[in-house]
């Protein structure tokens, strides 16, 4: 039973990881590409970590929970990089398939002076 669960987790982890990277390649513009990796990998890596937890907890003498930490750190750091990537993209006006919000454009043009919408 545990083995099946493990296998399923591992497989889904691998699959989500792959799909995440697939998004990186398939999506049309930078903003949409951003979604694949930052999300799919979260679950991908997450399931793999759970699998690892399960695996080592069943194998070794004691429970193994330290994989939680990887998740914890990823949850803290991954959004930061996503945010900065996105912010940089807006700053650089990378082409997007949709219109950028007026708020952003004007504020960027006015060097940080906000015009209320």
């Amino acid at each position: 039973m545990a083995e099946y669960l493990l296998a399923a987790l591992i497989l889904s982890g691998g699959l989500f990881t792959f799909i995440g990277s697939l998004g990186l390649v398939r999506m049309p513009d930078f903003y949409t590409r951003l979604h694949g990796p930052t999300k799919a990998t979260t679950l991908g890596v997450g399931s793999l970590l759970i699998a690892s937890m399960l695996h080592f907890s069943t194998r070794e003498s004691g429970l193994s929970f330290h994989e939680v930490l990887v998740t914890l750190f990823l949850f803290i750091t991954a959004p930061v990089s996503a945010h900065l990537l996105s912010k940089a993209a807006l700053h650089l006006r990378l082409p997007s398939s949709v219109r950028l919000p007026r708020l952003v454009i004007e504020t960027e043009q006015n060097d940080g002076q906000v015009n209320r919408p």
């Binding site: 799909i19 998004g23 398939r26 999506m27 979604h35 929970f65 949850f75 945010h83 996105s86 708020l103």
Partner: protein, 163 residues
Amino acid sequence: MNRWLPHPFLSLLLAFIWVLLANSLSPGQIALGVLLGWLIPLFTSRFWPERTIIHHPLTLLGFVLIVCGDILIANVQVAWLIIRGPRHIRPAFVVVPLDLRSEIGISLLANTISLTPGTVSSWLSPDRRFLVVQGLDVPDPEALVAVIKRRYETPLRKVFESC
């Protein structure tokens, strides 16, 4: 609470993390964890300008669970979107007006948004009143704003700003 224990919650967290790191519940490791949990905040307290107080730990726990569930669902949705290909997505930028004031609150909200399905918090206005979120597939921007405010901002305000 004072000079000698600037961030009790952090200390606890660190001790807990230490035990996780060591992957062992031996008394020695716990003792070491507590020691470090006390020492490290002492050293780094200068890096924490404001003291963060968590008002409703239970709400926080609930929030974490909701987010985890959302992540799970979102991942499947996004995976499907990616597999179906770029022609079926409706990306959009959404401006979310913020009620949260504290830096930590805003940061956590932004993080949560980025972690959850198909949305990335892209941009924070200089006065920190608006958060621009980019969504991968947004049929209805208004609804997205509403969901974000209801599902994430409200609990966070409750935890960090105690209104």
